[in-house]
């Protein structure tokens, strides 16, 4: 049983960086390029782990603790995430609140580490990160609360394992709208294209990348890995909405799940190919719109 429960976590720990490769390959394909090799994210992390460290004179212990704490929070969030019909390691009513606040914990420490450098560039990124975070967190919670409302369930695993198939049979439109909401939250929380440009840290897009300007060596490796896991978590929330409800062997479930993750990766890549980054003041509109959509799905209960 325990080994079975560990499967989703191990999948996440092993394949999370690969999801980034899927996105990069998709973007490269549409740009007519070959793109970096599939294993490039792993190589980057290995290279960074092997490096020496340089710290700014301004920084304190907090700068060194930041990546560790945020990585811990994100790793712990994995234990609450359901995958198909495999039981999660831990489930209790309201565990999604814990998940959301763990991610917030991670955000706080990345932001504090950025402020610790005393650089105004990084503080600008930090300021924007807390701004968008303050907006996406309610939307994420609202979307999961909507899901829990329609499923009449309180914990993530029961919502996804018994609630979601039930909603499919009653009103699939709810799940489609919520998938869209989760997707917007994913783009915003993981600093993807219409919100932030993951490939630059220029002034125009100073959000996530600029916050980690001063990190290097193992610290940067932790941050990179944390980002990959975070992307994995949000993608899992989307893929879970579309997992088949019938009892399947574990191997097949994993295969379907990974295929679903691949589809999400392609979708992110497509979005990044087609869309330009929004102007900063337009981003809240996007997030608030997603929030409105999830409030709207709350209303669709009259049956």
């Amino acid at each position: 049983m325990m080994t079975l429960m560990m499967i989703p976590i191990c999948l996440a720990l092993c394949f999370a960086p690969l999801l980034r490769s899927v996105i990069n390959k998709t973007k490269a394909f549409f740009a007519g390029r070959k793109g970096p090799p599939w294993l490039q994210p792993y190589r980057d992390i290995r290279k960074l782990l092997g490096k020496d460290a340089v710290y700014s004179k301004t920084t304190t212990w907090l700068f060194r603790a930041g990546p560790l704490v945020s990585l811990t929070g994100v790793m712990l969030a994995l234990t609450l995430l359901p995958m198909g019909s495999i039981p999660t390691l831990l489930a209790f009513p309201g565990d999604f609140l814990f998940l959301a606040y763990l991610l917030a914990q991670g955000r706080l420490f990345v932001v504090l580490a950025a402020l610790d450098t005393g650089s105004s560039f990084e503080a600008m990124g930090a300021s924007r990160e807390v701004q968008f975070g303050a907006l996406t967190e309610p939307v994420l919670l609202l979307a999961i609360a909507t899901l829990s409302h329609h499923a009449s369930m309180f914990s993530l695993s029961s919502i996804y394992q018994t609630g979601v198939p039930d909603i499919w049979s009653r009103a699939p439109i709810i799940l489609l709208i919520l998938a869209l909401v989760f997707f917007v939250v994913l783009l915003s929380e993981n600093s993807r294209m219409p919100v932030d440009d993951p490939t630059t840290h220029l002034e125009l897009t100073m959000i996530h990348e600029v916050m980690v300007l001063d990190h290097g060596g193992p610290d940067l490796a932790f941050i990179e890995y944390m980002q990959a896991l975070k992307l994995w978590i949000f993608s899992t929330l989307i893929v879970g909405l579309f997992m088949p409800s019938i009892e399947l062997p574990v191997g097949l479930q994993c295969a379907i799940f990974l295929a679903g993750m691949g589809v999400v990766g392609v979708a992110i890549g497509l979005t990044e190919t087609m869309m330009a980054r929004l102007r900063m003041e337009k981003v809240p509109q996007l997030i608030v719109g997603a929030g409105m959509l999830s409030v709207f799905t709350l209303l669709l209960e009259v049956f």
Binding site: L62, L76, V111, S127
Partner: protein, 612 residues
């Protein structure tokens, strides 16, 4: 946590013999609810007293009076005694606010406080006299017959209680005195006022609610609405402050808002006969009262420690203090994590209970009855996200980065007597975070006072929640373990490697100075602008002019919308109205005597001539 929870029930029966005075009796009563608040008063009272052990004799006198007043309020079983204690509390705190009365800002803050608190007290007088009219007694045990009164009377009492107690607690829109007052008050007194005195007002509200019987749905909805408004406007304003203590003061309003949401959810659950959510709402509110007392006390004391070391409260003059005041800084970070309700600390657990209550109500009730519950979920989520931003700013700009002025380069760590109370408070926070699974069931008698006749359901719900608190504590434990393993991994990686230090990467610019760091206004500007109806941004520009412009300046600050657009016009109007009476305030003694003579003659004529 509450060792005497069971004994207090027996104590309640054997209350001390009443001492009869005109219009009432000085009777006392101690039940679980009083005991809970008494714990807060005594714990925080002692700790803040240790922090302020160097204060003058006058301060000590009023500090003790404040403690006495609060204790009296909590123990009173008679409306007159309650008001007596309330007045002592208000006056003592007024004198504490004006400790440094030589400064005009302090005098203004004291004046605002005195006016606000007495305006609130008027509503309490009206409320208690209304109760006396209907029951024929000022005694609290006679008040329990109030529930048989007509809905209009109950509504009037409820409204008076919300306004009267809400003014003291800091409900928006009655909160405007609070952010002016707390920053000017000595830090340990501000800690006591914010952590405990505001809660005494909540106690008054809860106590009145126990007399009013089955609540109506709109009471709960009103409290939830007030809670969301207080929470949101409080945290937005906190985010936009430049003054560290003011920021923390505004965050008190936010937390009072969260507590109010919990109480509102409890009332709504009672009105809809959903005992489970009522219990969760009340228990969450009570636990948040305790939690807030602990971490707000901690934060105010830490801010006091910073103020004492740097002699400034302005965030833009601070920075880099974590190096110079490592213990204060660590404790402030600790308090910030707790107050933003992040796991693994205690703030999360109480907000979790309130969330569960709101989610449960939203999940089981039908539209539109579930709207207030869902609004509470949304409100709490928004407040949570913004609180993170506010405290990232408070900690990040004050303690991290480089020192922005001489104030913080000169700073050094405070003494042991200042640090000790903070450490104790932090330890209490840890105890609640990891031990709440053990003592949540002990809340049953306290919730039982608010929610009588449902003791079985109360205990069942609390037991279930205690199970979840265990799960959370376990996850928090795993969190620390994983963190430890990762830290070890990092240590092993870096062992034997070259670890250098250099300057912060300035994107190619090498002449960066501390003054170029992000300021408090620039950090919070995007969010302030986004929520601009709640926090109006004022810009004062002196544009450069002429061919050789010399002086130019740009100042931005955020003003409290309630203060600027509601109270200021009203009070200006009142002051304009009363300025007409200055005519008789001319300063000539002869005419004053004439006034007295005329008044006496008129009264005499009226008494003799018209009373046959």
């Amino acid at each position: 946590m509450l060792p005497g929870a069971n004994e207090t029930r027996e104590l309640a029966l054997s209350s001390i013999d009443a001492w009869h005075v005109p219009y009432g009796s000085l009777s006392f009563n101690l039940d679980a609810l009083s005991a809970f608040f008494l714990t807060l008063i005594l714990l925080l009272g002692v700790l803040t007293a240790v922090f302020g052990k160097n204060s003058s004799g006058t301060t000590w006198f009023f500090f003790i009076s404040l403690m006495f007043g609060m204790t009296l309020v909590v123990l009173a079983a008679n409306a007159l005694l309650f008001l007596f204690g309330w007045e002592i509390m208000s006056l003592a705190s007024y004198f504490l606010v004006t400790t440094r009365h030589q400064e005009p800002g302090v005098r203004a803050a004291g004046w605002t406080y005195l006016v606000a608190t007495h305006l609130g007290t008027i509503f309490l007088f009206v409320m208690f006299f209304l109760c006396e009219q209907k029951t024929g007694s000022f005694d609290f045990h006679a008040f329990s017959s109030l529930s048989a009164q007509s809905p209009e009377v109950l509504a009037a009492i409820f409204a008076c209680a919300v306004i009267g107690f809400g003014t003291k607690a800091g409900f928006a829109p009655f909160h405007v005195w609070l952010p002016d007052t707390y920053p000017e008050t000595p830090s340990h007194v501000a800690a006591l006022m914010s952590a405990v005195m505001a809660k005494i007002a909540i106690y008054g509200l809860l106590r009145m609610l126990t007399f009013l019987g089955e609540p109506e749905a709109w009471w709960g909805i009103t409290l939830i609405a007030i809670g969301i408004m207080s929470g949101l406007s409080g945290i937005i304003m906190a985010l936009s402050q430049k003054d560290l203590k003011r920021l923390i003061a505004y965050s008190s309003i936010e937390n009072i808002g969260i507590i109010t949401i919990g109480i509102g959810l409890g009332l709504l659950g009672m009105a809809y006969q959903a005992t489970g959510f009522a219990v969760l709402g009340f228990a969450g509110a009570l636990l948040h009262i305790l939690n807030h007392a602990l971490f707000k006390g901690l934060l105010f004391l830490a801010a006091g420690s910073v103020l004492q070391a740097t002699k400034t409260r302005l965030i833009d003059d601070l920075g880099g203090l974590l190096r110079r005041m490592p213990i204060t800084g660590g404790l402030f970070l600790f308090g910030s994590i707790a107050i933003t309700a992040l796991p693994p600390l205690n703030g999360f657990i109480s907000e979790f209970l309130i969330y569960l209550s709101a989610l449960g109500g939203g999940l089981t009730l039908r539209f539109p009855a579930n709207l207030p519950f869902l609004a509470a979920v949304l409100g709490l989520a928004l407040i949570g996200g913004l609180a993170l931003a506010a405290f990232a700013k408070a900690f990040g700009l004050v303690f991290l980065g480089r020192a922005r002025s001489e104030h913080s380069t000169r700073a050094s760590e405070s003494g042991i007597w200042m640090l000790l109370p903070m450490v104790v408070l932090a330890l209490c926070c840890v105890a609640i975070a990891f031990g709440s699974g053990f003592f949540l069931e002990e809340f049953a008698p306290i919730v039982g006072v608010l929610l009588p006749h449902h003791s079985a359901a109360t205990e069942m719900t609390l037991q279930a929640v205690a199970g979840q608190a265990f799960a959370i504590a376990m996850l928090s434990g795993i969190f620390l373990a994983v963190l430890g393993i990762l830290a070890l991994f990092r240590y092993l990686l870096l062992r034997g490697r070259v670890v250098q230090t250099g300057v912060t990467w300035g994107c190619g610019y090498t002449k960066g100075t501390p003054k170029m760091q992000y300021t408090s206004t620039s950090f919070s500007e995007p969010l302030s602008l986004l929520f601009s109806p709640l926090a109006a941004m004022k810009t004062e520009v002196t544009a450069p002019s002429g061919f050789f412009p010399s002086a130019a300046s740009l100042q931005r600050h955020v003003t409290d919308t309630f203060r600027e657009s509601i109270y200021l016009p009203i009070f200006l109007r009142i002051s304009a109205l009363f300025s007409h009476f200055r005519l008789i305030q001319h300063g000539r003694l002869r005419l004053y005597v004439l006034n007295v003579v005329v008044t006496l003659l008129v009264l005499l004529t009226w008494k003799i001539g018209f009373s046959s």
